[in-house]
């Protein structure tokens, strides 16, 4: 029941505001293949909102996880997910696929 309520609430919230924010962000693409990120390194501008479209081509789900970027997002198998980050100050921000942390590693370089 809490879930249903949550979804209804989310629908209301989303209807109000989702359309306005997306347009300003810059877009990047990332692919998960064989439990690896491609490319494993993304260069993004500092001080801006950035959208990363993550496409998981594996059959299994993956979690895009980064405390540095403050992102924790599950991307189900054979589907796409949108990760929004920033604005960030210049530096290196590591991320990983938590479900396959040995191989799925990457870094966002902000410059």
């Amino acid at each position: 029941m809490a879930l249903v309520r949550g979804i209804v609430f989310a629908a209301l919230l989303a209807g109000l505001t989702v359309s306005s924010a997306a347009a300003l962000a810059q877009d990047f693409n990332l692919v998960i293949r064989d439990h690896k990120f491609e490319p494993a390194e993304l260069r993004v501008p500092s001080g801006k909102r950035v959208s990363i479209y993550v496409s998981n081509e594996d059959a299994t789900p993956e979690e895009f996880d980064s405390t540095a970027l403050k992102v924790e997002k599950v991307i189900p198998g054979k589907s796409k997910g949108l990760v929004r980050i920033g604005p960030l100050t210049p530096g290196r921000y590591e991320f990983m696929g938590e479900f396959n942390a040995d191989t799925a590693k990457g870094v966002v370089i902000v410059e």
């Binding site: 997306a22 789900p61 189900p76």
Partner: protein, 277 residues
């Protein structure tokens, strides 16, 4: 196997900690085990449902469905925790007095057990969905699945043990103070959840203000370390908080304090004299 154990344990820590605190906060309530068990059961069921629909949730609202769901779940938990603390401000003192008077006996007072059962359920739901998806991934891959699956189960068991540790640790606190301690713990728990919730709204693209990082203590106390993770759940520690996160955190603490102040009965308490003897 060890990898799976660690991942599942990490996800289970948060829910475990919350269950432990809720168990301690409901000390003396007759049917609390049933309530909390119901919360865990429904939470686990919900986690399975969320995992099942992960793809459509993820794709909803222009790809922000997951973030919105997380924000709502956290928001709902914050409200429930506020309700609990307000209730305790009104009735807690009598209850502690009653419990001290009759030893460890069960208190007759009604508690907002629904609120806490919901909090437990939501915690299990949020962390559990990830565990289910992770374990599903293992099973789907096939290779050495049984060993990894066993690791996952052991991770869950470790999470449960951690929950018990929290509970018995809190039980060591004298009865007179225990509700004060759990109320303060719950206030910080809620503040941390609120800070997380606004971050999810930010990630969903709903909020796009005050996103600047305030400080970076990841070098000293990384949030993904064991201690950092514990503090993250317990008091909402974040190694790189945004301005908005700090505001949400402080606002929740302030709201909790205000609620407690408003809910505390105005009449002078007559209990202390009989208790201190």
């Amino acid at each position: 196997m060890l990898g799976a154990l660690v991942i599942v344990f990490r996800e289970a820590i948060e829910a475990g900690l919350i269950i432990g605190i809720v168990m301690a906060a409901t000390r003396g309530v007759a049917d609390r085990v049933a309530w909390i068990g119901l919360g865990i059961g429904l939470g686990a069921l919900g986690a399975g449902v969320i995992a099942l629909f992960a793809e459509s949730i993820s794709g909803a609202f222009e790809g922000s469905g997951q973030e919105l769901l997380n924000a709502c779940v956290l928001g709902a938990a914050v409200v429930m925790l506020m309700w609990h603390n307000a209730w305790m401000a009104r009735h807690g003192r009598e209850m502690a007095a009653e419990m001290t008077a009759v030893g460890q006996a069960v208190t007759s007072g009604k508690r907002p057990m629904t609120a806490l059962a919901v909090v437990v359920g939501l915690a299990v739901l949020r962390e559990g969905a990830e565990v289910v998806l992770f374990l599903y991934g293992i099973v789907a891959t096939g290779t050495s699945a049984s060993s990894l699956f066993l690791g996952g189960l052991l991770g869950l068991a470790a999470g449960a043990a951690f929950s018990a540790l929290t509970y018995y640790g809190l039980l060591a606190i004298p009865t007179r103070y225990i509700f004060t301690v759990t109320t303060v713990l719950i206030a910080f728990l809620a503040a941390g959840m609120a800070a997380q919730a606004v971050q999810f709204l930010d990630a969903a693209g709903i909020i796009d203000v005050l996103g600047q990082r305030l400080w970076d203590t990841s070098g000293i106390l990384p949030q993904d370390g064991i201690l950092g993770r514990l503090l993250h759940t317990l008091v909402g520690y974040t190694d790189r908080p945004s301005e908005l996160q700090l505001i949400a955190y402080l606002a929740t603490l302030a709201a909790m304090a205000l609620l407690t102040w408003v809910a505390t009965p105005a009449r002078p308490q007559r209990a202390p004299a009989s208790r201190t003897t």
